[in-house]
């Protein structure tokens, strides 16, 4: 059979496998709660990572404001989905604003509105900020994320965001398919954008913005587009995070969150969507299977390792980021995406190495 048919069949098989796996986990949620939790968190972070990659990796705009846009999406989603009957108890200190009390939306609508708010904020912020050089853009977006956080926690916002008390009683996902489907759709749209004419224009800006401009690409218009779209999906991911965590406050959205996403993007490969997804699963999965690093009672072969105590896992992650940046800049995927040809090529090369080794 030719390559195209082979690839189509393989794709169908892969999708069937994934769906089957999800059904398997969903069938017995209590014994698979760890796995479900990891999968849900991984897909949420994958969406932000791809959105960050769209901005940083594909358009070359180094923005560190992700935590701020996630906060907007999270708060809007939370506010709209907390059940009306619970609201008075959630806003117990200062009460909820009258017009907000009965305003409720189903999950998907709330997520979309959260994304739109984040996009609107990005549109406004973009106007002054996008003409700055890369280093300044990074600091300015970081600054805006902090301003957003201060704004959400401000006393005068108490009746809307519950100020510094945070929001709880956010209804969670009904099953594992909801977040996975949402993530697939979000990432799918971003991939379509990247392979479209506009995606190519973004890459041109990344490669050489002066040449891109000379080829008729309006820099501000396209940078703003990339920024707004990236922030839209970042906001949706923030909303999904709120639903996953069921309670949020502004401390959830400190700069550390952005740095964690940056780690995922760098590890997976700046400029690779597949890499961001893989990176997200590795880092979030790592939270579980590297858990022993934080455990001061853990023993290897009966020997107690004095290094292992709470906080060590994050140190290991930090060292990992430094190692990747210094010695393995391209990350896992470099700028490549997943392809069946690529995968088979990888195995062929490994086989060649083995057989060549055997013969000599």
């Amino acid at each position: 059979m030719n390559k195209k048919t082979r690839n189509t069949i393989l794709n169908i098989l892969l999708v069937a496998l994934v769906v089957g796996l999800l059904c398997f986990f969903q069938s017995d949620t209590s014994s698979h709660s760890y796995a479900i939790s990891i999968i849900e968190r991984s897909v949420i972070y994958a969406v932000v990572a791809v959105a960050m990659n769209l901005l940083n990796g594909f358009t070359g705009l180094f923005s560190l404001g992700q935590a701020g846009f996630m906060a907007i999406g999270a708060y809007v989603t939370a506010i709209l989905t907390i059940p009306v009957e619970m609201r008075d108890s959630v806003y117990y200190m200062n009460g909820i604003a009258g017009w907000l009390h009965d305003l409720h939306a189903p999950m998907v609508v709330a997520l979309l509105i959260g994304g739109l708010f984040a996009a609107a904020a990005a549109a406004l912020i973009g106007i002054p900020i996008l003409r700055l050089k890369s280093d300044y853009l990074a600091i300015a977006t970081l600054g805006f994320a902090e301003i957003i956080r201060a704004f959400l926690a401000a006393p005068m916002m108490d009746q809307i965001t519950n100020g510094s008390y945070g929001l709880n009683n956010i209804p969670g996902f009904k099953n594992i398919f909801q977040p996975v489907a949402l993530a697939v759709i979000c990432i799918g749209i971003m991939v379509l954008l990247i392979i479209s004419s506009f995606g190519r224009a973004f890459k041109a800006i990344r490669e050489d913005d002066i040449a891109a401009e000379a080829m008729g690409i309006n820099l501000f218009h396209h940078k703003e587009l990339s920024f707004v779209i990236s922030s839209f999906f970042t906001g949706i991911a923030g909303g999904m995070l709120a639903i996953y965590m069921r309670s949020i406050d502004t401390k959830t959205f400190q700069v550390m969150l952005t740095y964690n996403i940056l780690l995922i993007v760098v590890l997976g490969g700046i400029g690779s969507v597949t890499g961001s997804v893989i990176g997200s699963f590795l880092i979030n999965g790592g939270q579980e299977w590297l858990r022993f690093l934080d455990d001061d009672t853990f023993k290897i072969a009966g020997v107690h390792i004095p290094l292992f105590r709470p906080g060590f896992r994050m140190v290991v992650y930090s060292i990992l980021l430094m190692v990747v940046v210094l010695f393995w800049r391209r990350g896992i995927m470099g700028t490549n995406e997943f392809s069946w040809d690529g995968l088979f090529g990888l195995f062929k090369r490994k086989k060649k190495k083995v057989s060549a080794g055997g013969e000599s």
């Binding site: 805006f144 301003i147 906080g311 994050m314």
Partner: protein
């Protein structure tokens, strides 16, 4: 607000500004020479605080202070050699991510080693001595900080403008390759820049934390960003500019807190940054550079 209260706040602001100025100098010098925003500078300042805590636990203050300062300087130089030097020819994004990575590492390392619970900063006996004059009550450290800042800056300007190493620093800031061709030892010059920057940050840490009284892993994160804003406000690359920027931000922050807007004092600093970048990106004393097309 009465005159004495105003004067009291002004004094506090100038003192805070002095500490900020010392840290801001580190940012502006490193940016001038490497075109890098050293995201980790604020965290080096934080680790310096911890060094002091451990030094004071083992030595009397007149030994502890030099030990802590030397430790800070060594940390800065190690970071430069390990995390920045290998990436000098790499694309800009890589070295920025490296700086972020160092910041990330230092914060997580501090959380791991010292826990997130704030640790008490030791008292250096004479610094906390209370003085009163003209209706104003203050501690010695508050008065000492701006004075010490000005003295150190004057010394630094002497170094930059009248010594060989200073000239080397100015040359490398302008054109690294040409400096290398002229026989200047670029690596040593860059190390020297970090040594001075970290030394000043270490002194700033002593003055700042003596007032604050506690250190925790994120103590340096926000002050670090604020000091970067101070450096931009003054004109990135300009040392007098960084000092003036530091004082302006210190005073503004103090008065904002005094007027009851403490939740906004951090946001205000970032708002200031954005306004500067839009209205006058070169800052108060910086020079504009045009790109050759």
């Amino acid at each position: 607000m009465s005159a004495t209260t105003f004067a009291q706040h002004l004094l506090t602001g100038i003192s805070l500004g002095g500490a900020y100025a010392l840290i801001a100098i580190g940012y502006t010098m490193v940016y001038g020479i490497l075109r890098l925003i050293n995201f980790a500078h604020g965290d080096i300042f934080m680790i310096s605080g911890y060094f002091m805590i451990f030094a004071m636990a083992s030595f009397p203050w007149f030994i502890a202070i030099p030990v802590a300062l030397i430790g800070t300087v060594i940390l800065g130089v190690v970071i430069e050699k390990a995390a920045y030097k290998p990436l000098r020819s790499a694309p800009r994004m890589s070295i920025m991510i490296s700086a972020i990575g160092v910041s990330y590492l230092l914060e997580n390392l501090a959380t791991y080693l010292f826990t997130a619970i704030p640790k008490a900063y030791p008292e250096i006996p004479f610094l906390k001595k209370i003085l009163t004059f003209g209706g104003i009550t203050t501690s010695l450290v508050t008065l000492l900080t701006p004075v010490l800042t000005v003295v150190l800056v004057v010394l630094l300007m002497q170094l930059i403008n009248h010594t060989k190493i200073g000239m080397a620093m100015r040359a490398v800031s302008k054109d690294t390759e040409a400096s290398r061709l002229m026989g200047i030892k670029v690596d040593n010059t860059i190390s020297m820049t970090f040594i001075i920057g970290c030394l000043l940050a270490g002194i700033g840490a002593i003055l700042y934390f003596t007032d604050r009284m506690t250190v925790y892993p994120y103590s340096g994160s926000l002050p670090g960003l604020k000091c970067f804003v101070a450096a931009v406000l003054g004109g990135i690359g300009s040392i007098p500019g960084a000092v003036i920027g530091g004082f302006i931000i210190g005073i503004c922050e103090t008065f904002l807190v005094a007027f009851g807007y403490s939740t906004f004092s951090d946001a205000f600093t970032f708002l200031l940054l954005i306004i500067i970048l839009l209205v006058r990106p070169t800052g108060l004393f910086g020079e504009a550079a045009t790109d050759k097309v």
